[in-house]
């Protein structure tokens, strides 16, 4: 019975590679026609991952060390967005960033954007949407690893170094790295393949590789091409993950993910 699931996973993932033997052209086309989309996807995903990290690390730190007995409730608030359907969440951003909405007019008053500037249908909107949607994936692993840190280690460091910043960078931060690592992967991987944010919050200029794959499959029904594209996407992601794991140390990957 469990082998049923086992084989379904296996064949499901091998099948996109099945086109491999038929037409190599698909692969050549995949790269030459959609190189821009690939690069854009990885760029957006990388920026969103960094942004999510910058937002969620202090947040997770605050909950882990200052949360007190409200920790569970605060954690619930972090995962609350999960309870609203992904698409509806993103549509809500459309409402918030709408041209006659509060955010746009405030930004115009503060001269952060030009008086006739927009937020909707810009690269910023797409990246902000991706950051928002994957923020909990970043915050939770970081919280878990911060929470596990033995407070006495930080106290000891403060007794010895006497400087809070130094204690943070020498003790707290290195100890939370497994969480950072897991969070980065959990944010970056789905962000690469995302097409909902680009579709709803962007214009054709912000289309990502996910949009291309989705259109090849559903609108054009060019299955081999789409399969080749998703295979390439998967391969590139794997290479990036391996490179990342090498640079951080593979031991941290396994402890972080498992």
């Amino acid at each position: 019975m469990y082998y049923l699931g086992y084989t379904s996973l296996e064949s499901g993932d091998l099948f996109s590679g099945y086109t491999f033997t038929w037409a190599w052209d698909n692969y050549r086309d995949a790269w030459s026609l959609y190189r821009d989309h690939f690069i854009r996807s990885f760029e957006y995903a990388a920026i969103a991952t960094i942004a999510a990290f910058l937002i969620s690390y202090p947040l997770a730190y605050w909950i882990a060390f200052r949360g007190g007995r409200w920790k569970n409730v605060l954690l619930l608030l972090i995962i609350a967005p999960f309870f609203v359907t992904y698409l509806i969440r993103t549509l809500a951003w459309k409402t918030i960033l709408a041209d006659d909405g509060i955010v746009v007019s405030t930004f115009q008053h503060l001269h952060l954007i030009s008086p006739d500037g927009r937020l909707l249908a810009t690269t910023t909107a797409v990246i902000a949407g991706i950051t928002y949607n994957f923020l909990p994936f970043m915050a939770l692993p970081i919280y878990v690893s911060l929470e596990q840190i033995d407070q006495r280690l930080i106290e000891a460091a403060e007794d010895l170094y006497a400087n809070r910043a130094k204690a943070f960078f020498r003790v707290t931060f290195p100890l939370s790295l497994p969480g950072v690592f897991a969070g980065t992967l959990l944010t970056f991987i789905p962000a690469c393949g995302d097409f909902i944010n680009a579709q709803l919050l962007g214009t054709p200029k912000q289309l990502m590789i996910g949009n291309v794959i989705q259109r090849r499959f559903k609108d054009v029904a060019d299955y081999p091409q789409a399969a080749a594209l998703s295979f390439v996407l998967m391969a590139v992601i794997l290479v990036l993950i391996i490179a990342y794991a090498r640079s951080v140390g593979s031991e941290r990957v396994t402890t972080g993910v498992a």
Binding site: L59, L76, Y86, A92, Q151, I213, S230
Partner: protein
């Protein structure tokens, strides 16, 4: 444990007025930052709930027009919305039950027995979670296409069972990790029947894990869009309906259903948090 840290910091803060101000500013910067991050996280939810009470003029529910309860009184008063929600619930129910059954057995096998392919199976469990949804969806779609399986209810169900299994396995396995096998052996010594031992000892002990896995699977199934979108034929689940609707109109009924799902999920979570609080002795927190 927090109090120990605070005594350290209190000692440090008392040293000088400057250090005290600095610590005060630092503490509040972090709090303010956390507050802003929460605003960022929760603002869209507030908007979804607020706009479910909106009375839009046109087909798009993007600007505030006026308060109304109509949308909540007639949540399914929009073509195709009702069937879509029903299909979502049906798929979620069956896929989570099947995924929970398979996933629990897989978790038990993985924790208990060493067999050929044990290591690779552990890895394969993680694979669906570490793959972008679009790649998963397209792999499944090509699989169905190659075997010319007609797209529809069955393919959606199969896809949902597949991605849910991994999450159930991980949840149940986490529960099994802290479980004492000697209890089962003791039961076997007393009852002598493996089935009785399973039902009377193992199952009640890992039940919270199984339930958590089921709820997680249900939530993921209701929410899933990308994979469903790729493997569905003419059938529409609720997220697919939203996607289709968003191209031509955004009826406030979408917000009503979205808010309703949110409230139900939060109620479940709150019940769980309260339950844990009650079980924990007061001094422990």
């Amino acid at each position: 444990m927090t109090s120990a840290v605070e005594t350290v910091s209190v000692r440090r803060v008392r040293r000088s007025a400057l250090a005290r101000t600095w610590a005060f500013a630092r503490r509040h910067t972090l709090t303010l930052f956390a507050f802003l991050a929460f605003v960022y996280l929760l603002l869209p939810i507030a908007v979804v709930i607020m706009f479910s009470f909106n009375d839009p003029l046109g087909r798009f529910n993007f600007t505030w027009q006026g308060f109304t309860l109509d949308n909540w009184l007639h949540p399914f008063d929009y073509p195709e919305l009702g069937p879509a929600v029903r299909l979502s619930l049906v798929i979620a129910f069956f896929s989570s039950i099947i995924a929970t059954a398979i996933g629990t057995l897989m978790a038990l096998a993985l924790v208990r027995y060493r067999f050929r392919g044990h290591g690779s199976m552990n890895l394969l469990i993680f694979l669906p979670m570490a793959t972008p949804e679009i790649v998963m969806g397209s792999s499944l779609l090509t699989l169905f296409l190659n075997y010319s399986v007609p797209l529809g209810f069955a393919t959606i169900l199969i896809a949902h069972i597949m991605f849910n299994i991994s999450f159930v396995v991980v949840t149940v396995r986490a529960r099994l990790a802290g479980y004492d096998r000697h209890l089962e052996e003791a039961a076997a010594d007393l009852f002598a029947n493996p089935w009785t031992a399973f039902y009377k000892v193992t199952l009640p002990l890992i039940w919270p894990g199984i339930l958590a896995g089921f709820l997680l699977a249900f939530a993921l199934s209701v929410d899933d869009f990308v994979i469903t979108y790729l493997v569905s034929g003419a059938d529409q689940t609720f997220p697919l309906f939203v996607w289709g609707a968003a191209r031509v109109a955004v009826p406030p009924q979408i917000n009503v259903i979205g808010s309703a799902i949110f409230f139900i999920a939060v109620a479940f979570m709150l019940a769980n948090v309260l339950w844990q609080w009650r079980r924990q002795p007061k001094g422990a927190v």
